[in-house]
């Protein structure tokens, strides 16, 4: 099931939000959540949640703080088993199966400080038993493609916040999994760097399409990066509404987010967020 990291990059992200994937649920990377409930001891975090995501779809999860969006992401990624309901990722239902199809990018970059940038990016390959030289060679191609050439041997501490996040994202890409689970990947960056990184990520996903579940507390970020956005309620989380991002959007972030169609969807999302919180 694993895709090669050097997969063809010509494929464009051209499907409409929420539209059924042409290949159906069996396509590489489709995610289907049915009647999902989850609780920690007495605390109900997710209640009867349904969500569908076609292969190569990009879904944003927004919701108030502490609503359980990160928990939902961990459940999808197979890091936990849900209390009730079913999550199907690429046909896999059990946690280990989902884990094999998902790569998780945590909020902080969590680059290992004792490894160089390229060795951090190549971690998944090393974990699969690829020798160091070969793993570096394969990751180096991505450094070139994603504007990190020349920083392969740098220690994480020598990189800027934005560059660290790029390396962290490459580490997730190199894993070659069909589904990427991104947990507020740019939350720790300053506003300007965050805007740059959003544009960078949009380009990266256009070049190397994957199924993406992106948790964000920023409605604008979610709508700019995703095909569709699910607005979650306060705990226990349920889907208040699911909105399609306006398509097609300008690649320039500033242009895209000031488009009247974009602004109107953003206001609807904000409205839904307020309803779900109240």
């Amino acid at each position: 099931m694993r895709q090669d990291t050097n997969m063809p990059t010509t494929e464009a992200r051209d499907f409409a939000a929420g539209a059924a994937s042409p290949a159906g649920e069996g396509a590489a990377g489709a995610v289907a959540i049915r009647d999902l409930s989850h609780s920690y001891a007495e605390l109900r975090t997710i209640e009867r949640l349904d969500l569908d995501l076609p292969a190569h779809g990009v879904l944003g999860l927004v919701g108030p703080s502490g609503c359980g969006k990160s928990t939902l992401l961990e459940l999808i990624a197979g890091l936990q088993e849900p209390s009730d309901g079913e999550i199907r990722v690429d046909g896999a239902v059990d946690a280990d199966g989902r884990l094999a199809h998902c790569a998780f990018m945590p909020q902080r970059d969590l680059l290992l400080p004792w490894l160089s940038a390229i060795d951090n990016a190549a971690l998944a390959l090393r974990n699969r038993g690829v020798r160091r030289g070969e793993a570096r060679r394969r990751a180096a191609g991505l450094f070139e493609r994603f504007g990190l050439a020349g920083f392969e041997r740098s220690a994480p501490a020598e990189l800027s916040g934005g560059m660290r996040q790029r390396v962290a994202f490459l580490r997730t890409l190199v894993a070659g999994k069909p589904v990427l689970a991104l947990d507020e990947p740019f939350a720790s960056l300053d506003a300007i760097t965050r805007a740059e990184m959003q544009q960078w990520l949009a380009a990266a996903l256009a070049a190397d399409p994957r199924t993406v579940v992106l948790v964000s507390h920023d409605v604008e970020e979610a709508l700019y990066l995703c095909d569709s956005v699910a607005v979650l309620s306060a705990r226990p989380a349920r889907v208040v509404t699911r909105l399609s991002a306006p398509a097609p959007r300008a690649t320039e972030r500033d242009e895209a987010v000031t488009d009247p169609a974009f602004v109107s969807v953003r206001e609807r999302a904000m409205q839904a967020l307020r309803e779900g919180t109240g």
Binding site: L79, F104, P106, L112, L123, R126, A175, K177
Partner: protein, 250 residues
């Protein structure tokens, strides 16, 4: 400048005061001792020079004991820390015993060990190992557990096995903690060697101190103490240097 000058000045002042107090007889009066029992820094320095081959011989014996005992404690301590980290059963089973091992008064234990192991290096190594084991194990265990749980999750989705998470994330994270434990351990290792040698006085600086004190060779006993201190400082410095070379990311 401040780093070297101030402590050197303090040390010089203390030694100077000691010299004056000892040679004038004031220190002997104060301690209510005969003046020939009270060694002055000058007499200690003289003893250090005159008995240099005897001191060197015994220092080598003690150093060997410390290095072997400390080495065994590192192997056992790190091994135990990893086993306790990986298995809750092992942790819960051994934790009380490991803490209890620290409450045993070494002074009491030493003669018992001599009865069990006989004279020679055996009981001394057991004592050094026993007192070094605790700081190494406890610190390394803390270090292994200090890893961000998010990093573990990240590694799991990158297909890491339990062993790979241990090797690639937890063990490097634990290194600074291990070094903290080892630095404490190496200082107490020297004390452990002296205790061991007091119980089984064969050779070594501890045995020499014991003999010299009985024979009122106070100056040479203090010379041996000075060498022991220097040994502990040197071993500590070597570890601190190793830490700086290995843990480059801090």
């Amino acid at each position: 400048m401040k780093r070297w000058l101030l402590p050197s000045l303090l040390l010089a002042a203390l030694i100077g005061a000691w010299q004056i107090a000892a040679s004038s007889g004031a220190l002997a009066d104060l301690l209510n001792l005969e003046s020939f029992v009270v060694a002055s820094p000058a007499e200690i320095a003289e003893a250090l020079w005159q008995s240099r081959s005897l001191l060197a011989e015994n220092a080598w014996v003690t150093l060997k004991e410390v290095l072997i005992g400390f080495g065994c404690a590192i192997v056992a301590g790190v091994g135990f820390a990893i086993a306790m980290h990986l298995s809750e059963t092992v942790r819960l089973t051994f934790q009380p015993l490991i803490i209890a091992s620290q409450t045993i008064p070494i002074v009491v234990l030493a003669p018992i060990l001599v009865i069990g192991f006989g004279f020679g290096i055996g009981p001394i190594l057991v004592i050094i190992g026993l007192i070094c084991f605790f700081p190494i194990t406890v610190n390394t265990l803390d270090g292994l557990a200090s890893v961000d749980p998010e990093a573990t999750k990240m590694m799991r989705t990158l297909d890491a096995s339990r062993g790979q998470i241990l090797r690639r994330v937890e063990m490097p994270s634990a290194l600074p903690y291990f070094f903290s434990g080892a630095k404490i351990a190496v200082a107490v290792a020297v004390i452990g060697a002296v205790f061991g040698e007091l119980a089984a006085p064969d050779s070594g600086l501890g045995a020499l101190i014991f003999r010299d004190m009985n024979q009122l060779e106070t100056a040479r006993a203090f010379a041996a103490v000075a060498i022991l201190s220097a040994m502990a400082i040197l071993l500590y410095a070597i570890l601190a240097l190793a830490e700086r070379r290995i843990v480059t990311w801090r």
